[in-house]
Structures are given as C-alpha cells and as structure tokens.
Amino acid sequence: MSQPLLRVENLRTHLFLKRGVVKAVDGVNLHVDAGETLGLVGESGSGKSMTSLSILRLLPRQSGRIVEGHIWVDGVDLASLSEEEMARDWRGRRVSMVSQDPMTSLNPVFTVGDQVGAPFRYHGLAHGARAVREAAVKVLRRVRIPSPEKRLDDYPHQFSGGMRQRVVAAMAIACAPRLLIADEPTSNLDVTIQVQMIALFRELQRDSGLGIILITHDLGVAASICQRVAVMYAGRIVEVGDVRTIYRSPAHPYTQALLNAIPHLGQRRRRLHAIAGQPPSLIDPPVGCRFAARCSRRTAQCDAEYPPEVELASGHKVACWRPGPEAA
C-alpha cells in the first residue's frame, strides 16, 4: 500500500481552561489517501473540529495545545513545525480549510479580489497586482462564480450565501493544496447549495487528486460524498470503515445509535431513536469505554478498560469490547 497523504498518529489535543484541562482529542489515529474523502462524524463536542484544527495547527491560541502525537503529511510532521513554517509552507499551500460558517469566513471590509488573491501573495505564486488579479479570476471561475473579473472589487456582503461559500472554497483551493479540511461546510446552507458544494468538491477531487476530510454531524451528507467514514465519540475514533460498511453493517453501538437517529424517507411510522444520556465530561473522562454509560451492551469490562481497536474486516476497525450487528 502506498503512503497515505495524511497520517495522524495518536493525536492528543488538550484545551487548558480555567475550569480544567479538556482532553478534546485523546488519542486519534486516522489517515487520508490522495483523492479520497474521509468523513469525520460525531456529535458536537466529540472532538472532530479540534482534530481538524490540530492538523492545521489553528487551535485557540490561549488554551489549545497538541500534547502528543504526530501529523504526517508528505513525510513532514506538522506537529513539530514552528508557527512561521506552518504559515509559510503549509497553510493554504499544501493543507487548507473551508471553515464552519461560510457567511462569516470572509472579511467584511476587504474586497473579494483582495481575499481570494491573498493566498497567491502569501505563497509567492503570483507577483504583482495584475498577476494576482488574474490568478484570482481563474480560481473564481473554477468555483463557478459568474463573470469573476467584474466581481473582484465587490465586497462579501454583495454576494449571496452560496456565492460566498464558493468564494471561501476558492480561497482554500487557490494554491492547489493536497489536503482540504472541510469543517461542516454545508451546515449553514440550504439544501440546493449543499448539493452544489458537494458537486464542487467532487470535481476538485477528480481534477487534482485532492484529499478531503469532511467534518460533519450530518450522516446523510457524509454518505453522499465520502469513501470512508470515521465516527468520533468523546475525543476518540470509535469506528472507521468504508462508507458502505459503516452504513450497512455498523459494529459499534454508538454508530448504530447514530444511524437510528436519522429519519428515513418513506418510513413515516418509525419512531426516531434518541440516544439516552449525555457524553462524558472530557475534563475527567472515564477510564473505560466512553460510551459505556449510554450503551445497551455494557459489561463490567467496558467500565474497567478502554477497548482496543479490532479490525473486523479489511479497513473496518472498531473500538468496542462487544462489537457486532445490532440485536434485533
């Protein structure tokens, strides 16, 4: 097997807050191949955003710190680089991000041309105002902004929501990165724009072999564009596998519970199943399985020790003491 584009090893990211140390990411392993989309799913607070921010080293400056682990991209461990190296050679250049809310991701007081041109300036890919403008036009055309040359001097508020999302995507892909982290890129958009965004991502991937990590709590979105899905719970990945396996034969009770909470078309009479209970505190997480308190298959062993990751089939890994299909 060839070297994956991104390999995250035993990543631990902590948030040092006044009320305690939040172990937001607590031993995450994952990899993304070139041209692949990995879905990182989980509920709010499960650590999926913190994982992605760790990869770009964009954690909250006052509180966030990677305390352990490696983030390998192209044989370089991003976790070991200085802030300057990250900005100069990596962010926006080889690793990029489309952030959570496209409506607030553009600077309101600078023109779209300035902002889309910025990555070219930072990474020295275009020199002089004219070259930067041309580069900006080109990338805006790629994300299908109509007549981009006329819109460079417009400000973000003059764009619609869907167009703004395209502009953000244009900034992210401007310098042809190898890895794109898309953090809930569609959650604030209406459905038609979501579909357009997903199509845009697919196209980029086909054209350039871009690896994508798609962070979402929407299993439907994940199913439609990801090849593989990793399910996060309370700072750890509990199950990972190709999208078909995860949706057809999930082995972890949490994954099963998540899938049961999705409404299905044409099943009007079926009740949706909420997952009882709350995720554990990440300041003082339980020693055993973190899902144990909410799990129907809980045993004494689940409370005593965190389950090791077992590979049920090629690429299908689950961290559970009693994995397997759901009891009927």
């Binding site: 900005a87 962010r91 809310d101 607030t104 309101p108 508020h157 992210a172």
Partner: protein, 306 residues
C-alpha cells in the same frame, strides 16, 4: 450620499444656532462689561452714554437678534478690549489650535493603537498590563499637571525642549503630550476590545488557514475591522481638543482660540467670546460629520442612502 450630507449640514446649522443662543445669554450672566471698560470713578451719565453707544442698553432679545443678523454677514462686532474685529482675532488663533489638536490626536493614536493591538494579541501578558497602567496614569493625571511636570522635567530639568511658546517643531511636543495623553486610556481600551472581537472571528481564522502571517492578519485584516469604534471616539476627543484646550494653551502660552476665549471671558469681551465659541461649535459639527463620512470609507457595508 449628497442628500445625507445636506441633511447633516442642516442638522449642524441647528446645533450652531442653539450654541449661539446659549453662549449669547450665558456670557451676559458674567456681569456688566462697562464696569471693566471704564474707570471706576466715571460719572453715571458717561456710563449710560457708553452703554447706549455699545448697544448694551437694548433689551437682551433685541441684542441677540442684532448679533445674529450681523453674524450671518460675518460681522461679530469689535472686541471691547482690543478694538479689532472679534472674528479676525479668533480666526488668527485658529491655525494654532488646529495644529495643537492634530498633534495631540496623533500622539494619542501613536500610543493607543499599538498598545491596544498588542494588548489584545498578547492578552494577559506584561504588555497588556503595561498598556493598561500607562493609560490609566494618563487618565488619572489632569492635563495641567502633566503639562507642569513636562515643563519641570524636559524643559527645566534636562533643558531639552522650550518651556513655552509657539513656532518651531520643538514647541509642539510638550503641549501635544499634555493634551493628548488623557484620551489614550479610553482609546487603548476601545482598540483592545475591538481587536479581541475581531481576532476571534471566523475570517481571521480563515486568513490564517490560507497562510497569512500574523503581521498581515493583525495590522491589515484585523485592524481595519477594529477601526470604526476607534474613529468614533477619535472624533469625540478631537472635537473636545479643539474646544477645550485652553488649560494647556494657557500653561504653554500657546496662541490658540481657547486661551483667547478664556481671556475674553475674564474681561467680559462678549464679541470675542461669541465668535470663539461659535467657531468652535462649527468645528465640532464639522468634525462629527467627517467622522460619520469616514465610516463609509472604512466599512463598505455602511451606506448613506437614508
């Protein structure tokens, strides 16, 4: 846009008329100017004669209408004391006042913007504490005292700068510091809190995510977003400096409008007081209008249609 400006100018005119009414009547509460103009042994008949000649025997409301009518033609009357047109007396002093206010404003910006920005970027660090302490010190010390200290240390102690007067660039330094230090505290805090908000925003993180250096992010992309509250408060302080610099002007023998007006008040020289205050209120209104118009330059979302 034009409509907006016309509307604002109209509102400004109303403010100026209001100011003229207030200053006209309030200055007359200070007492009878004739008493100061004539020797104490002047016979009552002469006093009455002078009073009539100067138009001060008319009822007050009539005096105001005469004053207002003349003022519209640019005639503010002659100074009782200097026997020269009041308006030109004041206008002659205006450049010095504007010069001092601009220098003081510049000084306050040069201190408050870097301190505010760095305090936000390095929140809770020593520079944050230093900035806070430095600004508080300025706010806690009245400007006459700052002025006297500066004279004591820089002019008398080290003989670095002229103690008072007007003319060379060296003369402006101490008055500008004395006048400009007070607003530093408020401006620093405004810049700091605005920058804190902006630095936490999604678009700054997006900028970081595409490879912006911290320098570009902070001084280009963040600062402009934080500029609106700063410009607002700068306008307020600039207007206050234009109108309220008489203490500093007096300490440093600065030939500005403030000092002229204060001297005129003491000698009950009503035409000079009226001309000075009206001129200041015009400057005040103008500076506020300029501040409001500058918002549109800073933030493209602000429009003046309505």
């Amino acid at each position: 846009m034009l409509l907006y400006i016309l509307k604002r100018v109209g509102q400004g005119l109303i403010s100026i008329v209001g100011a003229s009414i207030v200053i006209f009547f309030v200055s007359r509460l200070s007492g009878d100017p004739i008493v100061l103009l004539l020797p104490t042994e002047a016979p009552p008949a002469v006093v009455e004669q002078v009073r009539r000649d100067m138009g001060l025997a008319e009822p007050l409301w009539r005096q105001y209408l005469i004053f207002a009518g003349n003022a519209l033609t640019g005639d503010f009357g002659n100074s009782y004391r200097w026997q020269a047109p009041a308006l030109s007396l004041v206008l002659d002093r205006l450049p010095a006042t504007i010069y001092l206010a601009l220098a003081a404003l510049l000084f306050s910006i040069l201190l408050s913007v870097p301190f505010g920005v760095l305090s936000a970027v390095y929140r809770g660090s020593w520079i944050d504490t230093l900035g806070k302490g430095f600004a508080m010190l300025g706010q806690a010390m009245p400007n006459f005292w700052v002025g006297l200290l500066l004279i004591l240390v820089l002019a008398i102690g080290f003989n670095l700068l002229p103690a008072y007067g007007y003319g060379t660039p060296a003369h402006i330094i101490m008055p500008a510091i004395a006048l400009g230090w007070y607003p530093v505290a408020a401006q620093t805090r405004i810049v700091r809190s605005a920058m804190l908000d902006v630095l936490d925003s999604d678009y700054i993180r997006m900028g970081r995510a595409v490879g912006a250096s911290e320098r570009v992010l902070i001084w280009k992309y963040a600062l402009r977003n934080a500029a609106i509250p700063l410009v607002t408060i700068l306008g307020v302080y600039f207007a206050a400096m234009l109108g309220g610099a008489f203490v500093v002007e007096t300490i440093f023998a600065w030939p500005g409008v403030g000092r002229t007006v204060v001297e005129a008040v003491f000698s009950r020289d009503f035409p000079v007081v009226q001309a000075g205050v009206l001129l200041t209120s015009i400057l005040f209104v103008t500076s506020n209008l300029l501040v409001d118009l500058s918002y549109g330059l800073i933030d493209p979302r602000i429009r003046y249609d309505r």
